[in-house]
């Protein structure tokens, strides 16, 4: 199996994205092909579970309907600004 470094993959992706931006091609392409109903149900379940996890863990607190508090708690890296 061919081995690739994660940083190389990221770098390729970045070059591709920049190229798309230069060509002004970075717009959503509407998907018109229907998904399999089971796939759609599974994806929907994942969305629901993620949302419930955000609320249950306190990552997202809904203080008022239009006033939320969000904890940024993923792994972080130090980068100089």
């Amino acid at each position: 199996m061919r081995k690739m470094k994660w940083t190389d993959i990221q770098s390729c992706r970045r070059v591709h994205l920049l190229d798309m931006m230069r060509r002004e091609a970075l717009k959503r392409l509407p998907r018109t092909r229907p998904r399999d109903p089971d796939e759609e149900r599974a994806l929907s379940q994942i969305v629901q579970t993620r949302w419930e996890r955000w609320l249950a863990s306190g990552k997202l607190v809904i203080l008022e309907p239009r006033h939320w508090r969000l904890r940024l708690g993923s792994k972080s890296e130090e980068i100089s600004r």
Binding site: R14, M21, R22, E24, R28, R66, S76, E77, R81
Partner: protein
């Protein structure tokens, strides 16, 4: 030195909070719209390549982005190190400013995001006019997750104005059906 969030949604919100802070001095409130707003309302489930914001003064917003290290690339502003692309597609919010959600971040800063009702209208429009099934699916997810907190009167009235009432009713019926199935289970 700052701690830059690794997660792409968190990093975008972190950057938007800095922009919001800079533009506050000029009385400008940038508002998150588009795919990143869908990502926020779905706990990061949606992925999009760029972050769309609406700012009433595009020139000042662009200047602030430049001061933060963003470079222009076509319609976008790109920050190479943070791996973030920002677009300012409009100066006016396609929706009601009173329905915007304020999201506080841990350092006391905050970002503003288009109201979920107006975001739903945006996805419904894309689903109807572009025949985009993905937009239909994400409209349904938004409706399902936020069904109880929506301003229904406002949403249904806007849907009627925009000519997407039929699809909204269809999705509401599907969502209600799913809820009933969940209750039976």
């Amino acid at each position: 030195m700052d701690v830059v969030p690794e997660d792409i949604l968190e990093r975008r919100l972190w950057v938007l909070a800095q922009l919001t802070n800079r533009l506050a001095q000029a009385g400008i409130r940038p508002i998150l719209v588009g795919g990143t707003a869908v990502a926020l309302y779905t706990a990061g489930s949606y992925f999009t390549a760029d972050m769309d914001i609406v700012a009433s003064n595009r020139r000042l917003a662009a200047q602030a982005l430049q001061e933060m290290g963003f470079q222009p690339e076509g319609r976008h502003w790109v920050h190479q190190e943070w791996d973030i692309a920002v677009e300012i597609p409009d100066t006016d919010l396609a929706g009601d400013p009173k329905r915007v959600v304020q999201v506080e971040l841990p350092d006391g800063s905050c970002v503003y995001c288009i109201g979920v009702e107006d975001l739903l209208i945006d996805r419904l429009n894309a689903a109807v006019h572009w025949r985009s099934l993905e937009d239909r699916r994400w409209a349904k997810e938004l409706l399902k997750l936020h069904n109880r907190s929506l301003d229904r009167e406002y949403l249904w009235s806007r849907a009627q104005q925009e000519g997407v009432l039929g699809l909204l009713n269809e999705l509401q019926s599907e969502v209600s059906g799913t809820d009933e199935e969940d209750e039976v289970d």
